[in-house]
């Protein structure tokens, strides 16, 4: 397993190298000019020239890429053109917000999705199954931004049950250690701060978790249905095993493999969905910063953030592959 993990990690190097070239060219192929975006309406030609020289945008593309690669090798991802802050610093400052949001979204999807999918499979063809199928279909087709706006309109504005924006009430003077606000509140015993962060997470997490929830429901239902019709389940039932043991040891454990793969694949979806969700809820994670970087053509931020996201996505998928072995001893990664 260790060799497998190391080989996969080594493969990441050419993948990221290739991606860095693609990103570099693609971002520069976008219309617009970071210097003009920075200086606004009354940018003078001299001012634009100065900025281009300062950031090396006036140099040939190959030379620019070579310099960028030199930086990357030293793990220097450059600094934002807009505010001069190092990309690595802002990324790791904001990343906990996105991870916290994604974790709660996936938690919401898993905690609700697996029991619902399981119940639908057990009562296949009954009303419960129909309701779950219809609901999950709706969940898959509804766009994230639409759902986010709808949730905000109903639960934050009309009913005033939840806040409309940000990660924490600005009036709360909370101490931040890890930048995972819920965790920070627990660590510092500032429980009201933790509570407040949790309340702020509810709507964005539901908005972001709805598509994964719908997919998990469908995969669980299909997978459980398939396992339920297997001979070994029938045998286990026939030999008089307690239904709970059959359910846990034979059905769920075997049905979980495709579900686990799905959850792993959702990470990419969650990170891209986070851009929209964070924007709607003014949730200051990597998504909203990336959104601003696109509109401002902030090349270093765009390149650095997308590379980081790709790296994280790959690592999560590797973790999922390694996790198979835990659920099914027959699967041996090699």
């Amino acid at each position: 397993m260790l060799r497998f993990a190391l080989r996969r990690l080594a493969l990441l190097v050419p993948v990221l190298f290739g991606l860095s070239i693609l990103l570099f060219v693609w971002i520069r192929a976008l219309p617009g000019d970071p210097a003009r975006s920075l200086l606004g309406e009354r940018a003078t030609p001299a001012g634009i020239k100065q900025i281009r020289e300062l950031y090396g945008f006036d140099k040939p593309l190959l030379e620019q890429y070579w310099a960028y690669l030199g930086q990357l090798v030293r793990l220097d991802f450059g600094s934002s053109i807009r505010d001069g802050r190092p990309v690595t610093e802002t990324f790791f400052e904001q990343f906990p917000a996105t991870v916290e949001l994604a974790l709660f979204a996936i938690l919401f999807a898993v905690v609700l999705g697996i029991p619902l999918g399981y119940a639908a499979a057990r009562r296949r063809g009954e009303a419960v199954d129909g309701a779950v199928i219809t609901g999950s279909l709706l969940g898959v087709v509804v766009p994230v931004f639409f759902l986010a706006i709808l949730l905000k309109l109903v639960f934050a504005i009309r009913l005033d049950w939840f806040p409309t924006s940000s990660r924490q009430d600005p009036r709360i003077d909370a101490t931040h250690i890890t930048n995972f606000y819920v965790l920070d509140g627990l660590l510092t015993r500032e429980f009201d701060a933790s509570w407040d962060a949790l309340v702020h997470l509810v709507l964005p997490a539901v908005a972001l978790g709805t598509i994964p929830l719908a997919i998990i429901v469908r995969i669980t239902r299909a997978s459980v249905s398939e396992v339920l019709s297997e001979d070994y389940v029938r045998t286990a039932d026939a030999k008089g095993l307690h239904p709970a043991v059959v359910r846990r040891r034979h059905v769920l454990r075997n049905a979980m493999l495709p579900v686990l793969t799905t959850i792993g694949l959702q990470v990419g979806l969650l990170l891209s969905g986070a851009v929209l969700t964070e924007t709607v809820f003014s949730f200051n994670g990597i998504g909203s910063y990336l959104f601003d970087a696109i509109s401002q053509r902030d090349y270093p931020v765009l390149q650095g953030y997308i590379l980081f996201i790709a790296l994280i996505y790959s690592l999560v998928n590797l973790a999922v592959d390694l996790g198979y072995g835990l659920f099914d001893p027959r699967v041996r990664v090699s």
């Binding site: 617009g32 309406e41 049950w161 924006s165 627990l186 509570w195 309340v199």
Partner: protein
Amino acid sequence: MRLPLTRAGRGRRAVSLVAAGALAVGAAGCAESERSSGGGSGSGESGGSFVFAGSAEPVTLDPFYASDGESFRVARQIFEGLVGTKPGTADPAPLLAESWERSEDGLTTTFKLREGVQFSDGTDFNAEAVCFNFDRWYNTPTGIAQSEDLSYYYGKTFRGFAKGKNTDGIYESCEATGDLEAVVTLTDPFAGFIAALSLPAFSMQSPTALEKYSVPAGKDPRKGEYANKFPTGTGPFVLGSWDKGSKVTLERNDDYWGEKAKVDQAIVVAIADPGARRDALISGDVDGFDLVGPADISKLEEEGMTIANRDAFNVLYLGFNQARKPLDNKQVREAIAHAVNKEEVVSASLPEGTEPATQFMPELVNSYSEDVKTYEYDPELAKQMLADAGQSDLTLEFNYPTEISRPYMPSPEATFNVLRSQLKAVGITVKPTADQWEDYLGVTTGTSKHGIHLLGWTGDYNDADNFLGVFFGTKTQEWGFDNPELFQALTEARGLSTVDEQVTAYKQISEDVMEFLPGIPLASPVPSLAFAPDVQGYEPSPVNDEVWNGVTVEK
């Protein structure tokens, strides 16, 4: 002391209990934290906190290196300049300088400073501190610090530095001739000098703090400790903390020389989307916000919120690119001017209270002229003039930006649609070209590949050069004309030594410009702020010189 629950907080409590039930179990019975909180009784009338939402995070808290409104919003609470503005106007007024006297040749200004003022680090504000600041600006290190996005206002106002590519500036020296008297000498007259000093970029900063937390020359000054943790001025607030990506917390400066702030804390948060700012105010997450979308005003009023308008200090115009034929034909430009019904443009696409514009500057600017040539709405005359010019079946490319809202152009798509139908009514076929903002700026200001277009400008201080000079000071691709007489007149007007001389000169230039008609000034839209009903004492300023020491929030 703990924070009292906010209005929104009280409303949400029941659901929060359900939503976060698991955590509640863990939290129950645990001791309260001992950290401080923003609530509590201060020495002011209201105490508590004032939470304000802007559209973005500040870029830096060292205002000299800032040119964005959000950095200036925070800087105005922490810092003060020698010159401020009269409340509710753009006119210069004494602030840290009690008075000033200018020599007849306009080169020397003697500032008499306010007595008994200290920086928030306890050091004295005096003539030496003033000269330290002037010399600091002049000696801005070469490289990134001198780039146009950092020291923009110094570059525009003083036009050069001690070292670097551009040393042809107008600053000569600053001398402390007494503890409370500083004499600033320029190499060339600049009548707008006093008005320009009201910009936050020229705030007085503590020499001690600047030296202690300075950034080595050549490094990005925005990254230093000073600009992030220790900005030190003489204003009614001091920086509590800048929680990056979240909020800037300002604490009341109890040693402030003037009227002390009534709230204990002012908190500035960034909410990029105007609709999200509106929702945050309605639900009680914030107490006020800037850049209200015109379409949101009635909704906010229905919800019991207060709308405050700033007097307009901007102008929106329809520009002509004279590099494109037949826009170089004055008769065609005049015909288009007669085809445009500004009243309709205002009523259909701009906020209530907006007045149509007659020239390329708002009425508040001291050189505003009552005698400019105006072009009445007369579609029949427009058709006739087009026919006379041989352009009866004229087709024009019309560039406009999408998905952007600027204070002078809140809804460009709506403005474009009104203008298109008006031009169509006189037989002009419009070929629309829509671009996103950054691309739009590139096309309209960086190339000649555009036709008629929407653009504008929000002024920074009361000086016509800040409008006419910005638009027509030199040959540009946006306008596509070469008018050396106009360029020369603007250069000369800028160098006049007294404001009176300058006002006369700029009025004449404004009249000449409206004869020449490089574009059609459409309107000066009124920017709006919105507040919760319990917020009092916020004074809107046309140049955003809004200091929050008078603000109260009754909870």
